[in-house]
């Protein structure tokens, strides 16, 4: 098959995307496919039209690739593509929208408030922040609404740290959320074609929990897969993860991040197109399930070409 691999792009996760893409290209070659590496830039549509691939493997992360933009183009061009469709991508990339969907579906997610920049600049939303302490308590996690990585994610231990954290978060997006901090174990559940893979637990070796560097550097975070959980807890985690995947309309593959605290598993976010680098969690989970990286890539392709509903 002629498989176009879409990678790069303009998002801040460009570097991660290039690594995911390169690894996917290797796997595709070894699987005997004809690989067409495509940088997601101004020439993308022209090249897709000229090359007419059978299927596109979307290895883009972050805004512009994981948010439905590239998927929309592929739909218009009639090129089947891997991973979730336009609507699911648009819901997942926007953490605020995703949390609303999750809550409507009865899936637990930490309490939050969201604000956009206009609310502060023009509507005096700063005055509403006074209630935060009562409503959410400290510490708080302050995050840009869009963006798949931990860039711009800050903790505020007290009211005093909130404005600065907001300025940082607004550097990445014009909407931010202030979320109750839930102490607990960090879990990730990769989902492939609607089926949950073994649960991965990420254990940071040092430093902050939400450390962007630790996520992509070997030796900075240790991963345990399958996570050491009782069968009962593991079932509860898996159930919430699959429910979240379905509630957001994902298909193909995605990754659900959860925190397991005293109140049971709560969903933090769903990554529509999780990283596929050497240190990424989904490939590790697949491997724990006995699926090699090639096997994973092949399965993702099959799902992209299967009739809707698969």
């Amino acid at each position: 098959m002629r498989v176009a691999v879409l990678k790069g792009g303009r998002s801040l996760e460009r570097g991660v995307s290039l690594r995911s893409g390169a690894r996917v290209e290797d796997a595709l070659e070894r699987l005997g496919h004809e690989v067409l590496p495509l940088e997601a830039d101004g020439g993308l549509v022209k090249r897709l039209l000229a090359e007419k691939p059978d299927v596109a493997f979307v290895a883009l992360h972050g805004v512009g690739g994981e948010d439905g933009t590239a998927q929309e183009l592929l739909e218009i061009l009639g090129v089947p593509f891997t991973g979730p469709g336009v609507a699911a991508c648009a819901r997942c990339i926007d953490k605020v929208l995703a949390k609303h969907e999750l809550r409507s579906a009865g899936i637990p997610t930490p309490d939050w408030f969201a604000f956009n920049e206009t609310a502060f600049r023009e509507l005096g939303a700063a005055d509403a922040l006074g209630d935060l302490e009562q409503r959410l308590g400290f510490p708080l996690v302050i995050k840009p609404s869009r963006g798949g990585s931990a860039l711009g994610v800050k903790f505020a231990a007290s009211w005093y740290e909130v404005p600065e954290a907001l300025v940082s978060a607004f550097s990445y997006d014009n909407r931010v959320l202030l979320e109750r901090f839930v102490e607990g174990r960090e879990l990730a559940v990769g989902i492939l074609g609607g089926e949950a893979l073994p649960i991965v637990e990420a254990i940071p070796q040092s430093g902050d929990r939400y450390d962007f560097e630790a996520r992509y550097e070997i030796g900075r975070t240790s991963f345990v897969c399958p996570a050491e959980l009782s069968a009962e807890v593991a079932d509860a985690v898996t159930e919430q993860a699959v429910a979240a995947y379905e509630a957001l309309g994902c298909s193909g593959f995605s990754r659900v991040d959860l925190i397991l605290g005293d109140e049971g598993p709560q969903v933090l976010e769903v990554n529509a197109i999780p990283g596929l680098t050497e240190t990424s969690l989904l490939p590790q989970a697949a491997e724990a399930a006995g699926l090699s990286f090639e096997g994973l890539v092949e399965r993702i392709l099959e799902l992209a070409l299967a009739p809707a509903g698969a």
């Binding site: 290797d26 300025v167 550097s171 962007f212 240190t279």
Partner: protein
């Protein structure tokens, strides 16, 4: 040209990588790499105006002259230029080095000079020869961002001494040395970029130079003087190098052709007393046997033409105009709470914003406007510098600089406005800047407030 046949390395599986992770040396844990590297991957996009690099402008080097020199080498010395050379470098290269150092008033013994693969290798070789894990290195705050990974990779404890408009604060240095002494510790060396420092753009004053050299003598401490920019002086009288003041007993000197000729030729040097040089030579043998003979031949040819000063003078003219363009743009586009240094030479300006602005986050915002700079954090080992940035004015032309600064000013303005809206207050005063509080009269640099 199509790619030659090659095997694509199969990317390792995660369990393979776990295995590698178990093999990594302890020092790799402290090597920095990173989020910033990922952000920097985005700055390499062609549509980004990058004020982040430290690239000299090599576009004015006459191609005909380049071609003629390389042709002469090919015709007259092909076999030698393609061969290994001595670890210390060719004597002819050292003669060129002595000439360059002479232009700044230094008279090194050619026997004390070793040619290195860029000034960067000189710093690395010093680390290799002098640093055991846990040893103390003292440097400026902020310091050259490229020196930090060297100190980290030898697992040194790096202590940074605050700078102001006159460079490293010697009082603070003395207090730190006293404290270390009371703990029974001695720094292995004090690393300084005294002229037009990277990143702060400040220059160590004459009085402080004298004090630093006296202090090194009195306490028998080594000072590493890294001087890539001394000849790129836009105005004012040159100050004597530490090496000249000391006479080469306690001051080790690091120089480079990168900023006066070309960084691509990777030619730098180190000047050290014989006892230390012996270890440096052993270290260099292990590292790369010798520096490129081909580029040493090039330098020899180039200096033979006798016009190297002319070329440097031309660069000085160009960079002075670019610095002025950047200062004018800063005054126009940065908010009144921002401060910046006005370097009398070199390649960099250091700007400091209100403390609530984190310049790493600001970079993400700036990249959406297609402009990049180096977040100040990169120049510190301890997380300081978060509200500062390094701005380069040598790589782009004056229009690009003005446009780049306009774009950065725009995103800063948005953050300042947002912070005011959030706090309902007027923005806080700016954080301490290396430009310091008092206007110095010894050196031609002053702190300038935005208008």
């Amino acid at each position: 040209m199509s790619e030659p046949p090659h095997r694509r390395r199969a990317h390792a599986s995660s369990s393979d990588l776990e295995r590698y992770a178990g093999l990594f040396a302890e020092r790799t844990r402290v090597m920095r790499s990173s989020a910033m590297r990922d952000l920097m991957a985005v700055t390499a996009r062609p549509d980004v105006i990058s004020l982040a690099g430290g690239l000299p402008d090599t576009s004015t080097f006459p191609p005909q002259e380049f071609a003629a020199q390389m042709t002469r080498i090919a015709q007259e010395s092909a076999a030698e230029a393609l061969q290994y050379g001595p670890t210390e470098g060719f004597r002819e290269t050292v003669d060129c080095i002595v000439e360059v150092m002479g232009a700044e008033g230094m008279l090194p013994d050619p026997e004390d000079v070793i040619v290195t693969t860029g000034g960067q290798q000189a710093i690395d070789l010093l680390g290799k020869a002098l640093l055991d894990p846990g040893d103390v290195v003292i440097c400026e705050a902020p310091t050259y961002p490229g020196a930090i990974p060297v100190f980290c990779s030898y697992q040194a404890e790096t202590i940074q001494i605050e700078c102001d408009a006159e460079g490293m604060k010697i009082d603070e240095l003395e207090a730190t040395l006293d404290r270390l002494e009371s703990e029974g510790r001695r720094p292995k060396f004090i690393y300084s970029v005294p002229n037009f420092q990277n990143p702060a753009g400040v220059t160590l004053s004459l009085e402080r130079r004298q004090r630093l050299v006296e202090l090194a003598r009195a306490r028998e401490l080594l000072v590493v003087e890294d001087n890539p920019y001394g000849l790129l002086r836009f105005e004012g009288e040159p100050l004597p190098p530490l090496y000249q003041l000391d006479g080469g007993d306690f001051v080790i000197y690091v120089g480079t052709f990168s900023k006066i000729l070309s960084p691509g030729i990777r030619l730098g040097w180190l000047v050290a007393p014989p006892a230390l040089m012996e270890k440096i030579v052993l270290g260099k043998q292990a590292a790369d046997l010798c520096t490129s003979t081909l580029t040493q031949y090039f330098v020899r040819e180039y200096f033979g033409g006798g016009r190297w000063r002319e070329y440097v003078d031309n660069l000085v003219e160009i960079y002075r105009g670019r610095r002025d363009a950047m200062i004018a743009a800063l005054q126009r586009h940065f908010p009144p709470q921002a401060t910046w240094t006005v370097p009398g030479g070199g390649l960099f300006i250091w700007a400091t914003l209100p403390a609530y602005i984190d310049t790493s986050d600001l970079l993400a915002k700036a990249l959406r406007e297609d402009v990049a700079f180096v977040p100040g954090e990169a120049a510190y080992v301890d997380g300081r510098g978060r509200s500062s940035m390094r701005l380069n004015f040598s790589a782009g032309d004056e229009d690009e600089i003005a446009e780049g600064i306009r774009r950065i000013g725009k995103v800063i303005g948005e953050q300042v406005e947002l912070y005011s809206a959030l706090t309902g207050e007027h923005p806080t005063p700016p954080a301490a800047s290396p430009a310091g509080d008092e206007a110095p009269n010894v050196v031609p640099f002053r702190k300038v407030e935005g208008e």
